[in-house]
Symmetry: C3
Subunit: 367 residues, 3 copies
């Protein structure tokens, strides 16, 4: 019944014959049954990406000779529960801006990553387009849950935190990655906010840097970034943001342990220059075909008259059915203080400082 045919790739251009190349199609389909418990309401339903974000992508590398390569990477997130495109617009926003350009139920777009690169064996990679911010990479790399699902680290929670729209990804970016020097790696990044001409033209502009050392069981990373926003007297999160990150992990074999720190400072005099501070300590323990994951993370937001703090405890188990397919479950508990109101998996709280619980049970398939 099935007649199969090889999918072939043909490069197109006016009048040229092209060198052979390969394009890689890749993705993740991850569905999770979610339960959330809060003081005002509980919730249950189907979610997407409890273990790894559902996505589909296309990428390729061309060898230009002489140690030079060119590459592209196009990756779209989607919600496996209803098939719509996922926002992947940093903090729900578009082109490094607050409150713009995305609505739920929307279509697929390459908002996880859209880049073109030149790479040199000796000098590293120069990448243009939309990509992870370096500050996000350093905040998520030391989370045993990889910033996915109900157990994800509070260090990337932009609603309570101060991260602003560039917390996760940046559009209009140029990034240079060094090659690996005996374990040392580094990157610098600049990005533009794409505001029209006017008084806030530089909103969303910024730059970042990350350096680290990864060798054998040890991985240490340090990041710094600064993004410009005209201060908003009505929103404590809006103003020039500085972002520091430091993290480390060590793989003891029987367990991998990790810890990270993040600090954000917002230049907004109306709120006494808010500060956000996050910590995480976590571990991953291989158990037969599976892995136990656990973490504690905290995020504290301080500005005039406010010192809000949330603590999250998360415990999970991933059972690998193959290298590509796993069933998993994660339980998380959040303790809110000082006006914090983090709730999990769609549950709602009667008032701030109430606590919340969440549970994911899911199936993740990588292709």
């Amino acid at each position: 019944m099935k007649k199969l045919a090889t999918l072939t790739v043909l490069a197109v251009a006016s009048a040229a014959s092209f060198a052979q190349s390969s394009v890689t199609l890749f993705g993740v389909a991850d569905a999770t049954v979610q339960f959330g418990r809060g003081s005002a309401s509980n919730n249950s339903g189907l979610g997407s990406g409890g273990n790894a974000s559902s996505r589909i992508g296309f990428r390729g590398v061309e060898d230009l000779g002489g140690g030079l390569k060119a590459g592209f990477w196009l990756e779209s997130g989607f919600n496996l529960d209803d098939g719509t495109g996922s926002s992947n617009l940093s903090g729900g926003d578009y082109n490094n801006q607050f409150n713009s350009g995305y609505s739920a139920g929307s279509g697929l777009r390459f908002a996880r990553r859209a880049t073109v690169s030149l790479m040199g064996d000796s000098w590293g990679e120069f990448r243009l387009g939309r990509d992870f911010s370096l500050q996000y990479l350093n905040a998520s790399a030391y989370d045993p849950f990889g910033d996915n699902g109900v157990g994800s680290t509070l260090l990337t929670n932009t609603r309570m935190g101060l991260g602003g729209p560039v917390a996760t990804r940046v559009g209009n970016s140029a990034t240079y990655f060094t090659p690996n020097f005996g374990g040392f790696y580094g990157a610098v990044q600049a990005y533009r906010g794409e505001q029209p001409a006017g008084t806030n033209h530089s909103n969303g502009n910024g730059y970042g840097a990350r350096i680290g050392y990864k060798n054998g069981p040890l991985d240490v990373g340090l990041s710094y970034a600064k993004t410009d926003y005209a201060a908003d007297a009505a929103d404590y999160r809006v103003g020039d943001i500085k972002d520091w990150g430091l993290g480390a992990s060590y793989d003891f074999g029987m367990a991998s342990v990790m810890a990270a720190y993040r600090k954000q400072e917002v230049n907004n005099a109306a709120f006494g220059d808010p500060e956000g501070t996050g910590y995480i300590v976590g571990a991953k323990v291989p158990v037969g075909a599976g892995e136990i994951r656990a973490s504690w993370s905290r995020f504290e937001t301080e500005f005039t008259g406010v010192d809000a703090k949330a603590d999250k405890f998360a415990l999970g188990y991933v059972h690998n059915l193959s290298k590509r397919t796993a069933v998993y479950t994660t339980f998380a508990y959040v303790k809110n203080k000082g006006g914090a109101g983090v709730a999990l998996n769609g549950a709602t709280l009667t008032s701030a400082n109430d606590n919340s619980k969440g549970l994911d049970i899911g199936l993740r398939h990588v292709f």
Copy 2:
């Protein structure tokens, strides 16, 4: 001029090597020249999917060993006439809700199907995500036109019918399909409406079941489903909906004949608990490289003071140029009574009870 290269598939994940697998790219490109005739206006233009819905998709299956498999399926509809994404949001709606979340001219999304599955040779398939509702499958399976184009069955017409947004597909669903037991097949399905916390939190929640027998020339199917909506005193379609379906087909070789029945009951006291009832009788007759298709279908909607009824007569011919490519034409005629106002292919009616005619002439290519 053309240098071809094999498209390769690489599974991505942190630090794992993956087993070999194949991803299937598939789709349909179907364009039809449409003519509609009504009492108020006629219409002509180019449409999409007169024989099979235009779509593009990606799917794959991984053998996990021991009779276990994992699979994914991502499928997006589109309008071949202008390249936009097609809604595929049940009845024009989003996540099993009335009146939400889609606008014309929108982008591609995996709204035809987005699922991840675990499958066992001995126990069947467990599937999570967005997929056909079981009640729809039973209503469309016994239409000689496969619910496509101007000849499609009235049993799935949600504007006149009572089916509500879950008539075609359900988001946030979990479905279990039994294996085939000597011709017997069955499935049960549960779905969630994804409403925020509040009085209508359960709007769009529901469940369904389907059992059938398919062996040799005979195929019989039976379905039942119930979906929750808070009754709306301004819309007779909105309220808890019960949906029954029964259909059968028999292939005599020189012709395949089929018939189906559908019944919907809405719990809405303001309208005296509306009821919808549909019937179809159809046939497919192979003729050389082609096939003649014919059907009569009726849908009757009854509520306080209203007994509206539409009858559709459809006749078509599909000429296969290959197994994948066909040219086709379909003519349909709708007779409205009791306040029904079904019009075909964009034509409009001066008033209810007027009749309408439609013609499709198209080209369908499967890839």
Copy 3:
């Protein structure tokens, strides 16, 4: 670490086995650092498609035997700077209409091209769907910059020009292409505007034709098109539009030179029946692994009391790193007169008749 697997293509349909076929995945990833200089404001940022429009597509051809073929082509544009789908809706509009249906930040859609075709070795190609308009093909074919980036020809500038939404692409179209007769080629096209019934039902309907001769170094093309719009007393561009084009190029080996002419007439009595006239003269000069490109183009818009004219001078260099990958730069200067206000790369002008400069520096990769 990488285990590769062949991507396989499976045609889907009810109960049929399909002939072998191939699907081609293709695209362009092109990012450009843009600088714009104007009298009111300057701009800098990252853009997409300075050398070739960023896109991804799927296409295939099936041999039906007897000299007959079927084919499909689905192509979506995107913005590499932020991963969103690009409009590709002629002049920012949808289905040949003014001012409808697209917003920035939107999803991917096959709005560059979505077609299904029947092709005969002896009689040519019949194509249905969304595609380039023939009038656009003739206007862009004789631009050394291929209507991409800051140097693109003014003959396709619909904001200053009169081209209206069908300037670039048409939805709901049927096109017939002749085979090549000893260098002679031709095409005729009809399209529908997809307006609902009513007084402006025919808005966006039209037809076009193109004939040409291409043999050895010489390419000459001639086009004519007419599109219907009900005249709008508030917008000089809106009214029935006639569009003539003539262009020619000759490749002398050491240089290829080209020139084109475009004329548009709008039937809008409130503005004295506006006219637009465009000219371009350009050249491409191969230099080692690269190519120098230069052009002068003009567009003049005349209606009651207005005679606006813009002249653009563009100079660029493309350096090919391979047949698929290039770095490039383009400089352009626009001189506005008589009320014209064309500005480049996001710069803004204090008032009409001010001039603007723009610079692109980019990387283009074809896959």
